[in-house]
Symmetry: C3
Subunit: 249 residues, 3 copies
């Protein structure tokens, strides 16, 4: 297995965001992509990252290769790449180390030890979401940051015409509304108004994905998971499935 | 009560500075201004902030309304305002929440719970100061920061011709002198040389007011309070009265 | 003794770097330079700093004057100098305080208490180094920072053609190679390949000297000290001698 990237940004930024949520991960290389599927240690969020083979200038993978690695170590090494460096990932012959080469004015050679992960194949659940919203990712970030002042959970209410983001604290509350526009697309199933709440702490980590794309795709249901997706056409897809906070009634 | 600001900076920066010194405050709205008068918890500094009705594009206040609020919460909400946002403050019907609307591309709506403050009307003492100095606020900041290296108290000595700022540590000392110039105005009563000392820690918080104005007005007396004032004509006034550090003799 | 500098940068930056490694130091003024020679408290590194009299616009020193001072205090005072300030250092009559004047729009006057240091004359050892490398100081910094990810010690291997910098952790390792170029000069004695290891923590402090010069001069031997030198012609010289980390075999 040997792959070469000349835009380090896509891998570097994505690994930075992933490493906020998960630590040790398995990376699966197949004929058309590099894929990471991982659950966070508290089982609240599943992250799925796919970097398509079309992102690479060289992509030699035979069959399927899966390696497990410390994301913190990989993040540190990628953090040393300058924007103009090319990055080569290569599995050594014994298949117990990942060789990462940062090639710029000089060639810097890192060998990262692979690790063992039990149960290294996570399955992405099949979910059906009654609400789909496509909106500006920076506006979504600001809504989350606004609500962060008020509470450790953030609510979403969608109907045919608008998405409301809200938070309620013990003495204070806050709310922001996004109506349908050319930029903000909202589709809701026949159920009418759909409402659900999620952890502010997780949302704050997940929205760092806005570094990858100006657009975010949100999908959720009544007291049901929230899927947050950032996509770059022909390059990559990063999405997180976040469990709802269901209140006792 | 409903008031609208289109220059969030004046309110935002002032509340930031105030929140360094005081936590819960009463805000009094009357026909021509919004006013905060508060003592810091250690009774060392009194801050007075007045934002004139001429700073607002809409200013509807009937009679006098006084509300009490957590400055930390208000600061966080104002911190979410972008420079181009307008800010609306409105008291809800039950008069137990302050509604803050940040209006930009979207409208963000915050309701802050009001609090109870005993003794919510602080009186500004009537003081007579033999020394008055008007000078560049950045130069004053630098003098305070210079002295901060040496000691936790800073001394001021004024005479007809100059203001000296000094500090004495156990093995080191420092001094800077400001002579009368077009920019530095000094008037001293007939007492001759006047000397007094104040807490470095408080001064460092107070001088953040230089964000509001290039000019600072200082007034003090021999072992007597120091009044530090920042003013923007037709907009606002922020001043602090700081107790002296009187040494045992 | 009275000396005046109009380029505060040279003294300020050097003292900042020195203060990472040593705390109390003796400063020796003689007819042609100001000199600091000091060991770090753990006896792992010796720093030598010389600021030549040609760096000063006024340099009045009779005979040899040696003063001892807290580097942290001096650093704080120099930190208050703006790039356009001139700095005057003067010994007071009683010779128990160093007067530092920062002269810009205003004159700021600091008197720093001198201290007693036992054994205040450190001797620079005479060393012979089989390896000499001259290279770009930023490239050297990056090599050290790359290796820092992997291990708390960094190895150097030099031969006639190249310098290799490497690090080995428990599961990971890294390596970067610098071949001979117009910019990278390498001379090695007849011993052939020379290898030695040094503390990453110390190296990270020492490479801050790159602020002074684009070029770094490295000299070392097999399991022998490493000398790292930054030089500005006619202005200053800063070098550190760092003890090797010799592994048990």
């Amino acid at each position: 297995m040997k792959v070469v990237l000349t835009e380090p940004r896509f891998l570097k930024d994505s690994i930075n965001i992933l490493s906020e949520l998960v630590s040790d991960v398995s990376i699966k290389f197949d004929s058309d992509k590099l894929e990471i599927v991982a659950m966070d240690p508290a089982n609240v969020a599943m992250v799925v990252f796919r970097l398509l083979s079309s992102s690479f200038v060289e992509y030699n993978v035979e069959g399927v290769e899966t390696i497990s690695i410390s994301l913190a170590s990989l993040k540190q090494v990628l953090g040393r790449a300058r924007p103009s460096d090319s990055i080569t990932l290569e599995l050594d012959n014994d298949k117990n180390r990942l060789n990462v080469k940062l090639r710029g004015e000089s060639v810097r050679d890192f060998n990262l030890g692979l690790i063992d992960i039990q149960d290294n194949e996570q399955k992405v659940p099949e979910l059906e979401f009654p609400v789909k919203v496509t909106m500006n990712s920076v506006s979504f970030n600001e809504a989350v940051e606004d609500m962060d002042i008020i509470s450790d959970s953030i609510g979403f209410i969608a109907d045919q015409n608008k998405l409301q983001v809200f938070a309620s604290g013990t003495t204070s509350d806050a709310r922001v509304e996004f109506g349908k526009t050319d930029e903000t697309l909202i589709t809701v199933g026949e159920e009418g108004e759909i409402k659900s709440k999620y952890s502010t702490e997780y949302l704050k980590k997940i929205i760092k994905g806005s570094k990858l794309s100006d657009v975010v795709n949100l999908q959720f249901g009544e007291d049901y998971p929230l899927q947050i997706e950032y996509k770059v056409t022909d390059r990559l897809q990063l999405f997180t499935i976040l469990a709802p906070r269901v209140e006792n009634k």
